[in-house]
Symmetry: D2
Subunit: 305 residues, 4 copies
Amino acid sequence: MQLLLKKLIEKNRDWVNHGKAANYIPELNKMDSKNLGVVLVDTGGKVYRAGDYQVKFTVQSMSKPIVLLLALLDNGEDTVFKKVGKEPTGDPFNSMVKLETLNPSKPLNPMINAGAIAVTSLIRGKSKEEKFFRILDLFRKISQNPKLDINMDVYLSEKKTGDRNRSIAYFLRDVGILEGDVEEILDLYFRQCSIEVTCEDVANMGMFLANQGFDRGSGKNIVPKYLTQIVKTFMVTCGMYDASGEYAINVGIPSKSGVSGGIMCAVPNKMGIGVIGPALDLKGNSIAGIKILEDLSKELKLSIF
Amino acid sequence: MQLLLKKLIEKNRDWVNHGKAANYIPELNKMDSKNLGVVLVDTGGKVYRAGDYQVKFTVQSMSKPIVLLLALLDNGEDTVFKKVGKEPTGDPFNSMVKLETLNPSKPLNPMINAGAIAVTSLIRGKSKEEKFFRILDLFRKISQNPKLDINMDVYLSEKKTGDRNRSIAYFLRDVGILEGDVEEILDLYFRQCSIEVTCEDVANMGMFLANQGFDRGSGKNIVPKYLTQIVKTFMVTCGMYDASGEYAINVGIPSKSGVSGGIMCAVPNKMGIGVIGPALDLKGNSIAGIKILEDLSKELKLSIF
Amino acid sequence: MQLLLKKLIEKNRDWVNHGKAANYIPELNKMDSKNLGVVLVDTGGKVYRAGDYQVKFTVQSMSKPIVLLLALLDNGEDTVFKKVGKEPTGDPFNSMVKLETLNPSKPLNPMINAGAIAVTSLIRGKSKEEKFFRILDLFRKISQNPKLDINMDVYLSEKKTGDRNRSIAYFLRDVGILEGDVEEILDLYFRQCSIEVTCEDVANMGMFLANQGFDRGSGKNIVPKYLTQIVKTFMVTCGMYDASGEYAINVGIPSKSGVSGGIMCAVPNKMGIGVIGPALDLKGNSIAGIKILEDLSKELKLSIF
Amino acid sequence: MQLLLKKLIEKNRDWVNHGKAANYIPELNKMDSKNLGVVLVDTGGKVYRAGDYQVKFTVQSMSKPIVLLLALLDNGEDTVFKKVGKEPTGDPFNSMVKLETLNPSKPLNPMINAGAIAVTSLIRGKSKEEKFFRILDLFRKISQNPKLDINMDVYLSEKKTGDRNRSIAYFLRDVGILEGDVEEILDLYFRQCSIEVTCEDVANMGMFLANQGFDRGSGKNIVPKYLTQIVKTFMVTCGMYDASGEYAINVGIPSKSGVSGGIMCAVPNKMGIGVIGPALDLKGNSIAGIKILEDLSKELKLSIF
C-alpha cells in the first residue's frame, strides 16, 4: 500500500503544473501549488503516508459535511431540510441564480455555499464562542487530533474578502432562510472553513464517515449511522462542486473537496483518505488530487457503483 | 385642465381597490392605499391639483433618475457607464440573476436597484453627510421646495429591512463595481429613497426634466441638456420596472415610479406631472396612477411616439 | 443635406473594418462588409442619397415592425398581445431562456425572434401564398416600390439553416402560443426576412411610420395612427436587439436593425432614413450604420427625448 | 420476501391517490393511476411478484440508461461524452435553459431529454429500422423477454405531441451536438420510449445492470463491467429527474424512473427491482413507487451509501 501510494504520487506529480492555487482568498493563494500528498487510514487504524503529507491546509468546503452532521444532530432532519434542499445543482458553488429563480427560495443542497451557510446558522450554542467550540470539538474528535485549531491568517483573510458569501447570506435572510445576525453567522462559517489540518487528519475524518460514525478515540458510535449515510450521499451527488457527476463515474467514492486543494474520502466500511494538492482546476478541485484518486479507485476497486 | 384632472381622479378612483400598498418595507405598508392624487405643472409654472394631492410620500425609486443626474454631473458619462449599463432588463427591479450570468458582471441599467446603488456610490462628498446633503440640495432645487427632508421612520425601516439591497451591494463589491464601505453606501441609498415629497414636488421635478435642466428658481440651466435627455431616455426604456414597455405603448411619457405609489412624469417641453396612488400592481407600479396617466396622455396627446 | 450625408459616410467609413457580416446564414455572409450607404426621405418626399446606397440587401429583422403592423390590422391589439408581450428583454434576439423561466410562457416582445414568429403566425390568408402576398403587398406599398420581391438564395439559405428558429417555434407550439403547421409558419417567416430592398426602400418604409401611416402612393392613411405609434414604441424599447437602451440614448430615433446590416429609422413627423452597413457588432447591429445615425441625430437634433 | 412485498404494496397503496398519471402525452394519461405493482429478481434468478405486477406500461425514460449503454458500446466513452456531459442539473428533465447559458452548449447529462436525444443519435445502424432493431434487441436480451415490442398507440401519441423534444433537438442541431435528420432521430427516440414492458421485464433489466452486464440468457457478459458502472452512477446522480438527490438519501439504490410510472432499480450484485405506479408527483416520479422502495431499502438494507 505504501508503495502504491508512493508510485501514484510520482505518476501524477506533473499534474500540479496544470492548475493554480485558489486566488479569491489572498491567504489561500500563498499555498505552494507544487505540493502533493496523500494519507490513507484503514478500518484497523493503520496509516499509510506518501508525498507532501505533512503540509498543513485549511478544511474550507471539506467542513461542510461535518458541520452538516452536527446540524443534523442538533436539530433533526426535518428542521435542517426545511432550510436546505437535497438536490445537486449543476451550478458553481457560489451561484445565487437558483435562489432567485426557484420558488420558494431555498439553497438546493448543503454542499454549495448558500446551503452550507444555512446549515451553519443552525448550530446550537449559547454564544458564538460556544457554537464554534462545538464545531471544533467534533472536528478534533473525528480527526483523532485534539490539537486542531483555526489558521488565524486564513480566517481573517476570509472574513475580509467574503463579500460573495455576505451577498448570499443577506439574500438568505431576506427570503427567511437565515435568522439572526448575518455577520455573526458568517463569522462562524469563516471559522469552520479555516480549521487547519493535515492529510492524516482528513483521512481520519473520512474514516469516521466510512465507519458510519464510530469514534476510534472513545470506541463508541457518536453519531447515528443513518446520519453518516445522509452525509455520504451528499458527498457523492454534490461533493465535488459541479464536477461531482464526472468524479462519481471516474472515482466513485463519497468525497468532499475544498478550495485549499484538499479532498476528504470515505470508502464505506473500508478506509478514509486525505489528499492535498493546491493546484486547482476551473471548478475548484485539486487536479492532481483527483488523478491520484482515480488511479487508487481503479487499483483497489473502491468505487461504490 | 383642473376639471379634466378632477374627472380622471373620479373615473379611476375605483382602481385603488385592485392593488396593495408595498409590504416589504413595513413603514410603506402603513400608507393609505385608498389615496389617489395628481398635480400637473406646465412650462409657465401654472399648477393644477386634484384628488388627494396633499398626501406625503417618499420618493423611493423616483430618486433614481435624479441621483443619476447628479452622478453624471459629478463623474461624467464615461465613469458612470463603466459601473452601470444602458439596457432594459425584462427582470424585476431587485433581480440579481443577470449580475451572475453576464460577464463581465455589471448592473444592466441605473433604474434597477443594483444599478441605482452603483450610481449612488459615485456621488461625491467629503463625508457621508456631505454626500447626502448634495443629493438633498438637488432635490430641493428642482422641486422648488427648500423644505424637503427625509422621513425618518421610512428611512429606519428601509435600513432595518434592506437585506436584499445588502445582498446586491455585497455582490457588486465582490465583482468590483462597488468600492468602499457597503453599509455607508447603502445608508446613503436608503436616505435618498426616504426623501418625503408631495405630488407637487414630484410634478416640479418632472417639469425640471421636461424643461431640459432649466431651474425656475434661479432662472438658469443648472444641468446640461444632454444629461437630462439621457435620464429621460432611461425613464422611457426602464422607468416603470419590468412594465416599462407596456407603459411606453399605453402612455408614452418619460416617467419613473416608486414603490410608495408615486409616479414622476416629464413631458418634454410641455409639463411635469406628479401622481400618488399607493395601491400597487404586481410589478410595483401604482395601478390607479397608471390608469390616470393613460387617460391624460390620450386626452392631451402627450405620447412622444 | 446631401453634403452632410456624404461627409458622414466619409467620416465613418473606417468603422466597416471593425465588424463582420453575419455568418449564421451562409448567404448573408457573402455580403460585402465594406459597403456603407444611407438614404434619407423627408415629409415632402424629397430624397437624399450617399455612399453605397444602391446596394441590395434583405430586410431580415427590419420586417418585424412591418409584419407586426399587419398582424395588428388583421387581429386587433388584444389578440396579438395575448401571444406576445410588450417588454424589452435584455437578452439576445434568439434567446429562449425566458420562454422557459416565465410563467405563463410568452415571448417578451415582437422584436425578438420568438415574438416575431408568433406575430407572423397571426397573418391572415387562405393559403400560405396568400399570406405571403399580403405581407409583400404591404412592403411594396410603404416602400413606394411595387417591384419588391424576395431574394431566393437568402430565403433558401435561411430555410436550410434555421434550426434555432425551428427550436423556438416548436417550443412556442408546445406552450400553446403557436398553432398550426410549424414548418409552414417558419416558411412564411423566412420569406418575410428575405424580402430584398435598397436603402431608399427602407427610408420610405421609415417615412411611412414617421408619417403615422400615411401612404404617399394613394394619398391616404392606410393604417390607424395609434398602431404606428405602438410599432414605433417597440422600435425604441427593443428595436436594436439588446443594444436598444444604449442606442436610445445615443441616437434617440425609433429604429429597427436587421442582421443584413440594414437599419430603418422613423423620425416622427420628420423623415425616414435607411442605412446599410453589413459589418456587424457582437449584438448584430451595423457598426458604421449606428455611428452615422449618432452623428446625424446630433447634427439635426433628431432625438425624441 | 413474497410476504414483505405484499405487505409493502398494501401499506403504500393509498399513495396512488396523491398523484396523477402523466398528462402531456395523451396516451399515457389513459393509464390507470390506481395501479401499483412490484417485481423483484435476485441473483439466483428467483422472482417475487406482488400487487398489479401484470400491468403493461412503456419504458419512457427508463430507456435512457439502456440506450446509453448501447451508445457507449457503439462509440466508446470519448465520442459519447463529447456530445453529452456527466453532471446532474437541478433542472427539470425537459429544461433547455442550460443549453443556452452554458458555453459551449452541451446537454449536462444523458438522463435529461436533451442528453438522451443526443445519445440516441449515436446509435449505429444502416437504416432507421436497423437502429431501432438493435435497441429493441438489447432490451429483449436484458429483459429475458424476446417478445418485447413497442406500443404503437403510445409511440404515435409521442410523435404527435413531441414538440418540446423537437424544440430540444433543433436546438441541439443548431449548436452542433446533433447531426442528421432531426425527425428521424426523434422517431428513434420516440420508439425507444414506447417499448412496452411489465414489472418483471424491468426487474430483469435492473438485474442485468446489478450483475454488471452478465446476461443470464446466454450465460455471458455481454457488456463490459465498467460501462454498467457508468450507467449506474448516472442512475444515482440523475436517475430520478430533479429529485435524484432526495431519492439517493431516502433509497440509495441506482434507479431510473419513467413518466409512465415505472422505476427500474439495480442493487449492485444483489437484485433487480421493477415497480409500476402511474400516479406521479410534480417531478414526474411514481409517488407510491418511491414509497415502496424507501421501505424496501430500509427493510433489506439496500442503500449503497
